[in-house]
């Protein structure tokens, strides 16, 4: 790692978020992810001659919601502009975007700073625009094909101020941003599917200096982990350049996660002139005070408010409350079962423990949890009623998480209920002791380790369905 006492890193983020409207921004095609290539498109989103865009008002509503949730000022008089450039995934050869009058300005999110204190990351602006299609390279034929399904999916671009000083701050901001947007329902924010994409502008300068260094822009990071790696790589690269007497070139760089390195795409010299001008096919959009007031009222409880409530009203720890509220899916899982009457702390323990464990093992995001959220409650209920042991419950949860099994049925089908009949437990243990006379003798002669072995064998014979404490007690009794 480089010396942060000598060099300071400054970052700003441009985050593209696909809005979760049902239809595209300028036509009535579905925004659904995937689908066979070129099945979610029409003459309008493929830019055929003579067609015109019709603005989907839901996009303006969603963008307004996002702006309000991110503490922005909403622009009353909005216009669209054209950003002109040639690329096969952009069928009109211009993107309808907003340059001169973006819908939101001057917002911000509070995050935890490196020193543990609070820090506001400023949001410079949010603008509405359309997404482009995708190029698909076919290595077998060497040809490139275009899939226009994503063309015209509505996006908002959230441009932060250059307020970040570390990769951790970037991740905390992104986690918060993601949670807020998910909570207000404007985006599913799935990085893997590209519905949240972050570009990082980064520069370094000698610590203590007021003047920022020359920045580069990094693209193509598709996970938070990749963002952290890319930031560390780029800061180190720039510092190396400067420490060897070189100059940082203003350029766009592409992160290659498989090679753990970034590569220059284009420099400022060959930067495109986008020849922005007002979009003549769309009339200006006015957003009234009433609409803004109504939208404000319609916003649900945001993650920060939830976090505070979980601590003050539900008695969760600061850490648990913070972690839970990073994800709408985790909050839904928590609150749905809370509403069904399961205790908050027990739920938080399960989520922070088993759920997080399974998520990290599977490499999945919380929003990809496919099981019925009520199953977590059923499982906790069975433990509370001593129908299954805690260990059994953990095993059952694996099936719930991975295959979406109903835990009650799963326990029955696999005969996993705790054996409560002490007679049956005793009989099984007696058999184990009889078969392991040597270990029994060792225990009697004072070897504690032998007891552990016998407990293990007994639990095995009982297929884990007995309470381990009961088993230990009975064993000791038999062994005298």
């Amino acid at each position: 790692m480089y010396n942060t006492k000598v060099w300071e890193t400054v970052m700003g983020l441009e985050v593209h978020v696909e809005l979760a409207t049902k239809t595209k921004i300028f036509c009535s095609c579905t925004t659904e992810f995937g689908g066979a290539p070129n099945t979610h498109c029409c003459p309008i989103c493929t830019g055929m001659p003579g067609v015109l865009p019709s603005l989907n008002r839901a996009v303006v509503e969603y963008a307004t919601k996002a702006g309000l949730a991110l503490n922005c000022e909403i622009t009353r008089y909005n216009k669209f502009d054209r950003k002109n450039y040639f690329y096969p995934d952009l069928p009109k050869a211009y993107q309808i975007s907003q340059l001169y009058l973006p819908i939101c300005r001057n917002g911000g999110i509070e995050i935890e700073a490196e020193d543990g204190g609070k820090k506001i990351i400023g949001i410079h602006e949010i603008h509405m625009e359309e997404d482009a299609g995708k190029l698909v390279h076919d290595p077998s034929t060497g040809s490139t094909m275009v899939d226009y399904n994503r063309c015209g999916v509505p996006l908002i671009e959230i441009v932060s101020e250059p307020d970040f000083r570390s990769a951790n701050e970037v991740v905390r901001y992104l986690e918060k941003l993601k949670a807020i947007l998910q909570f207000i329902g404007v985006s599913d924010c799935k990085m893997q599917e590209g519905s949240l994409r972050a570009d990082v502008n980064l520069s370094v300068h000698p610590a203590g200096s007021e003047k920022f260094g020359t920045r580069t822009e990094m693209k193509n990071m598709n996970s938070f982990k990749a963002i952290v790696r890319a930031i560390n790589y780029e800061a180190k690269r720039q510092i190396d350049v400067l420490e060897h007497g070189g100059e940082v070139i203003q350029e766009t760089r592409r992160w290659d996660d498989s090679r753990d390195a970034s590569f220059a795409m284009r420099s400022k010299e060959d930067a495109q002139d986008y020849k922005y001008f007002p979009e003549p096919d769309l009339i200006p959009i006015e957003i009234s005070e009433e609409v803004i007031a109504e939208t404000k009222k319609s916003l649900p409880e945001l993650p920060e408010a939830k976090r505070q409530r979980y601590i003050s009203e539900l008695g969760l720890s600061e850490y648990d409350a913070s972690q839970l509220t990073t994800s709408k899916a985790l909050v839904d899982l928590f609150e749905q079962n809370l509403a069904a009457g399961y205790p908050a702390k027990e739920l938080a323990n399960w989520i922070m423990g088993e759920v997080m464990h399974m998520l990290s093992d599977s490499g999945r995001e919380p929003e990809d949890m496919a099981f019925d959220y009520g199953y977590l409650g059923s499982l906790i209920g069975m433990v509370q009623k001593n129908e299954i042991t805690r260990n059994t419950a953990k095993k059952v949860f694996k099936a719930v998480f991975e295959e979406g099994c109903d835990p009650v049925k799963f326990v029955e089908e696999h005969n996993l209920k705790t054996v409560t009949d002490t007679g049956a437990v005793k009989a099984a243990i007696e058999e184990v002791v009889a078969a392991n006379q040597k270990s029994a003798e060792e225990y009697r002669s004072g070897k504690e380790k032998a007891l552990q072995y016998l407990i293990g064998q007994s639990m095995r014979a009982l297929r884990g369905k007995a309470d381990p404490q009961t088993v230990t007690a009975i064993l000791k009794e038999i062994l005298g």
């Binding site: 001659p49 015109l52 096969p88 020849k275 769309l282 009339i283």
Partner: protein
């Protein structure tokens, strides 16, 4: 029945009365096309389903489904309006093979009114030009003199009506492209208020200026067509609700008490003396019919051409970027890489005039030049608009010439684009202001070439313009004259 001298409304009435069938009318038009089009090259495409469409229309007229006064009347469509399944080339090699899967709203509305489309009419490439010579498919000729241009860009639309190859046509007007060819060909054409006819399906040249309108033999026919197509359209965000055009009001209109203003600045340097004389005579005629005609100053005129060519070219450079050889239309062969494919396709697919305007447009939008050109042009546009707003506080209509000259000789302008641009002086400012304006035949020059007068109205005053034009046409016969050579021209 003399179909050759009939107007669209007269033919529509005859079809309604059963004096002639839609099929017979269609056959007549196909014969006329067969007879004259090799000479004038008005049509790029003649549809092969004309008769079957006419049969279908006739049935629906009989069953009462089609009640429009134009039902069954054969129509021509400028080749920049999409028609489902029919080649829509915009007069360009770039779209020589393009068949849209959708129809323009204006075309759809005419179809719903029982129109029988004959085919697609020639035009300057992507509507850029004032002569109809820049088409990839060759130049259209003026039926009044085949050595002359028909004007442009809707040259095919105007010439086809003048030659009697169709009874009316749809044209488009970005800077005079309906009015100037109507003037050159001795027919009546109107560009309605911006936003009153949907642009959906009209291949864009300059989106903030483009507008579809009719070209026909007289004002009443134009009113009938506008009556069908002036409808607000959800598919065009810039389209607005209008009160439309009331055909009966147009037919009953007179100019008594109407205040007509004539900008003295329209009669300055560059205006042909014979054109000026014909327009002034028309003003006298209107005055004798009871209109109050008055001259006034409008010095803003001089900013119109630069403002127009900056705005139109800027929008065109963006609108035409989609023709890149990737998705449809012309694609160059043997491209080395993506950039080479773009460069070759666009170099080979576009003609000179289109390339000139794309380059001009790219230049005025480039960073560092935007404020000096584009922003200034928008300011000039706003000034022109307010100058007209002030004029319409005093006048019902503004009258002037449509073009400084009558039709020029083929090839005369092609070599000198600046001269061609100056020919648009009277028309472009109307598009910049978004106003409605018509060209109405008002005389001939000493070479026998038609002259048009420009009747400009306030926003949504199409009925007033066409009413005055109709009243004028009740007492004049300029619009009923036919090119002398028509019947003597032999089928080649």
């Amino acid at each position: 029945m003399n179909l050759e001298s009939m107007t669209a409304l007269e033919l529509g009435a005859a079809i309604k009365k059963g004096e002639i069938s839609a099929v017979e009318a269609a056959k007549f038009s196909l014969e006329q096309i067969d007879k004259y089009d090799r000479k004038f090259s008005c049509f790029v495409t003649v549809q092969d389903d004309v008769i079957s469409r006419a049969e279908e229309v006739q049935k629906k007229i009989c069953s009462g489904e089609y009640i429009s006064p134009l039902a069954g009347v054969p129509m021509g469509i400028k080749d920049n309006m999409c028609q489902k399944g029919i080649q829509t080339s915009c007069g360009s090699r770039m779209l020589y093979n393009f068949k849209p899967t959708y129809s323009a709203t204006a075309v759809e509305l005419m179809m719903n009114a029982g129109a029988v489309p004959l085919g697609k009419l020639n035009m300057d490439e992507f509507a850029m030009g004032s002569t109809s010579e820049t088409s990839w498919f060759g130049a259209t000729r003026n039926p009044w003199n085949i050595n002359c241009v028909p004007g442009g860009s809707s040259g095919g639309s105007a010439a086809a009506v003048a030659a009697g190859e169709c009874f009316y046509s749809l044209g488009s007007d970005t800077g005079g492209s309906i009015r100037q060819p109507a003037s050159f060909c001795g027919v009546t054409g109107i560009k309605p208020t911006y936003g009153s006819v949907s642009r959906f399906g009209l291949v864009a040249y300059a989106s903030s200026l483009d507008q579809i309108g009719p070209i026909a033999r007289n004002a009443a026919d134009c009113a009938a067509v506008l009556g069908e197509i002036m409808k607000q359209d959800k598919r065009d965000n810039t389209s607005v609700e209008t009160r439309g055009v009331d055909l009966q009001a147009v037919l009953n209109a007179d100019v008594k008490g109407m205040r007509i203003g004539i900008p003295t600045d329209f009669f300055g340097e560059g205006l042909d003396r014979e054109v000026a004389a014909a327009v002034e005579a028309a003003a006298k005629q209107l005055e004798s019919m009871g209109a109050a005609v008055e001259k006034f100053d409008m010095p803003i005129v001089k900013y119109a051409i630069p403002a127009y060519y900056i705005i139109a070219s800027a929008e065109a450079s963006s609108n035409l970027s989609r023709y890149d050889g990737i998705k449809y239309g012309y694609r160059a062969e043997n491209a080395a890489d993506l950039l080479d494919l773009y460069t070759k396709t666009r170099s080979e697919g576009f003609g000179m005039e289109v390339k000139r305007r794309i380059m001009l447009g790219c230049f005025v939008l480039s960073s560092g030049y935007y404020d000096a050109y584009y922003r200034k042009a928008l300011q000039a546009k706003a000034l022109i608009k307010s100058a007209f707003d002030r004029a319409f506080e005093k006048y019902d209509l503004i009258l002037g010439p449509v073009a400084p000259t009558t039709a020029l000789k083929i090839g005369e302008n092609l070599a000198d684009p600046l001269k061609m641009y100056l020919g648009d002086i009277y028309t472009v400012m109307i598009n910049l202001a978004g106003l409605p304006a018509a060209s109405v035949p008002c005389g001939f020059d000493s070479n026998g070439m038609p002259v048009g007068m420009h009747l400009i109205g306030n926003y949504f005053d199409e009925s007033k313009i066409l009413g005055a034009a109709h009243a004028y046409q009740q007492v004049t016969d300029w619009h009923t004259r036919r090119p002398a050579g028509l019947n003597s021209i032999q089928t080649i």
